[in-house]
């Protein structure tokens, strides 16, 4: 097998997360007339973070719409358009601003299919960068995974790499339910190897399924978004010391794939969770609670441990900010503590 693949080997395509999202949206806009994008600066500016670059030029005013700075208003407009049968992608410049519109996301979008007894679906995507960036301080650095993950009726996904980003945005757009896509600004410019199947126009990453990024035997390390990369770095360091970490990329926050996590814990007997958001009532807290309730609890040789953002509003000074988000050293420390090393 190795010899054959050596003969036909082509360099794998490199794709940044930004370009992956762009490609995903472009393909879905082309595929379905009812899909359109709205948000601040998405059209003529090519996107505040250039994620929608080229789309307005290709699709025009009708399908790529610049909005005024009116989150509550344009989120509501997007939800209304979805109720009337269109398939909007509503961009929040960052999810911090989605708080102004959160009533429309939860009360108008998430709950409607249920309240209507199954009569009124809301096929909408809310997307944008979430969580910490670099030096943008407290009001621009909050992680909303736990907030949106809390609500029945919503689906919430959190891509890490390019493959995740393209596959999840496509699945989100094709989903007939409200889907929150939590991107990460610091990941936009990061290139990843882009496998051949991801280059297909029908490449989808299923919502609700986690991915084991790295197999291991000693400890399960569960994460989502940018911290997945830090976990893999920690795993590489620890591997040299003979500790093999199994790193799981959640990909979806809600509905959470607890089965993959449980199966892993039942193999490794140890668990740590890693997230950028605040500790209280966070994603890790939910994972720990569910592990306790399920079969994996009896396989734990040590309490499950959480690695999270610091329990403070995000400070500005670099040294403070660096220590307010989980670093590789914090993950390594937590792993060794759990393994009692």
């Amino acid at each position: 097998m190795a010899a054959v693949s050596g003969l036909v080997r082509r360099p794998l395509q490199q794709m940044t997360v930004r370009d992956a999202i762009n490609q995903g949206m472009d393909e879905e806009l082309e595929r379905d007339e009812k899909v359109f994008l709205l948000g601040e600066e998405v059209a003529q500016y090519d996107g505040a973070y250039k994620v929608s670059r080229g789309l307005w030029k290709k699709y025009g005013d009708k399908r790529i719409i610049d909005t005024p700075i009116s989150e509550m208003g344009f989120a509501g407009i997007a939800v209304g358009a979805a109720m009337a049968g269109l398939r909007p992608i509503c961009e929040f410049m960052t999810f911090n601003f989605s708080m102004q519109a959160i009533d429309q996301v939860i009360n108008s979008a998430a709950k409607t299919y249920y309240m209507s007894g199954g009569l009124q679906p809301v096929p909408i995507v809310f997307r944008g960068p979430n969580g910490a960036s670099a030096g943008v301080a407290a009001q621009h650095s909050q992680c909303f995974a736990a907030w949106y993950g809390h609500c029945p009726g919503l689906k919430v996904v959190s891509p890490w790499n390019s493959e995740d980003a393209k596959g999840l945005i496509k699945s989100a757009i094709r989903d007939n339910n409200p889907v929150v896509v939590l991107e990460n600004e610091l990941m936009y410019g990061v290139p990843f190897e882009f496998p051949a199947e991801a280059q297909s126009k029908d490449f989808l990453v299923p919502i609700g399924k986690a991915k084991v990024e790295r197999q291991g035997t000693h400890i399960t390390v569960v994460s989502h978004s940018r911290p997945v990369g830090h976990c893999l770095e920690a795993a590489t360091v620890l591997s040299k010391e003979g500790i093999e970490c199994e790193v799981i990329n959640m990909r979806t926050i809600r509905p959470m794939d607890i089965d993959t996590i449980e199966a892993s814990v039942m193999k490794t007997n140890h668990l740590i969770t890693v997230e950028g958001g605040w500790p209280q009532f966070g994603v890790g807290a939910e994972i720990c609670a569910r592990i306790m309730e399920g079969p994996a609890f009896n396989f734990l040789d040590a309490p499950a441990v959480r690695v999270t953002g610091a329990d403070v509003p995000m400070p500005y000074a670099k040294i403070l900010e660096d220590n307010s988000v989980p670093q590789v050293k914090d993950i390594i420390f937590a792993i060794k503590k759990t393994l009692n090393i």
């Binding site: 407009i77 269109l86 299919y113």
Partner: protein, 396 residues
Amino acid sequence: MRKMLAAVSRVLAGAAQKPASRVLVASRNFANDATFEIKKCDLHRLEEGPPVTTVLTREDGLKYYRMMQTVRRMELKADQLYKQKIIRGFCHLCDGQFLPLIQEACCVGLEAGINPTDHLITAYRAHGFTFTRGLSVREILAELTGRRGGCAKGKGGSMHMYAKNFYGGNGIVGAQVPLGAGIALACKYNGKDEVCLTLYGDGAANQGQIFEAYNMAALWKLPCIFICENNRYGMGTSVERAAASTDYYKRGDFIPGLRVDGMDILCVREATRFAAAYCRSGKGPILMELQTYRYHGHSMSDPGVSYRTREEIQEVRSKSDPIMLLKDRMVNSNLASVEELKEIDVEVRKEIEDAAQFATADPEPPLEELGYHIYSSDPPFEVRGANQWIKFKSVS
């Protein structure tokens, strides 16, 4: 014409058992239509407004009468069921408490001015609109009583009823207005000349998101008819205490507006036709203020007299009951007879009684369906109940 013949044959069929006056009804010649003067609308940024006269056909008149009576009686019945504790939670009604009256002219008049293919969204005082948009009294009352035969299968209740081209029924004050502008965006996007009626009350009119919606609707020329139902009270707060400007038809600023007599169904109809034509011509949004009055309290838990006097209520009710107004017009113009309208009253009462019977007798939704309808178009999955051992199946 068909309706008149049907009515005639119904009467003739029963002529043997019925008193002589009924037979006379069948043989009397009614006018086919009549012209009425209606109040001129106040205008904002408009050169001309809706016409000041309108033609009402006998057929339409009878239809509107029946619809208004149905809404009224349905709301009165809901009132009764709420007092008997058969309806729980919130119950925001379209009618008057001890006196029948009010917002019936709005829902029937608006519907008369648009097509079934147009769209409508409102806030939580929605039962009347749910009916005029096409659902039956049965499924509305059964939704209020939380039964499986309810239009939302008992999952929504008073504030969350949906029908084709009717988007509820929305519980958060003001949130429905951007939604309505979004539906209008879809209308424009699809290019089928449809419009969206987006209703809100005088209380909601001070919500910031409404001004965001005005701005975007005007900027993008969305075919959205913003409609403020001004019943002069937002819960317990009179408009003078809530709004620096109570000229709600002007609050859209750059959006043209008209102020309409919301107690006169013909005025409402003409204004709606005018507004719909404006939107369909591609000129963008327009705003209508319907002046009406809320006889009832804000909801069933509010007797409605702590913040206004009984004299005030009495005065308004004696001067402008929309149903009486229509009835007088029709009878005085020989479009219908008193007896004929009384017959409609009897039929409506029976329809409501039957519906109430159904709404009281129909069983509650099955507990197994508690988890249903979380997601659309998905395979079944499990939903957690009150503890980890209680699981509900969720089906789309």
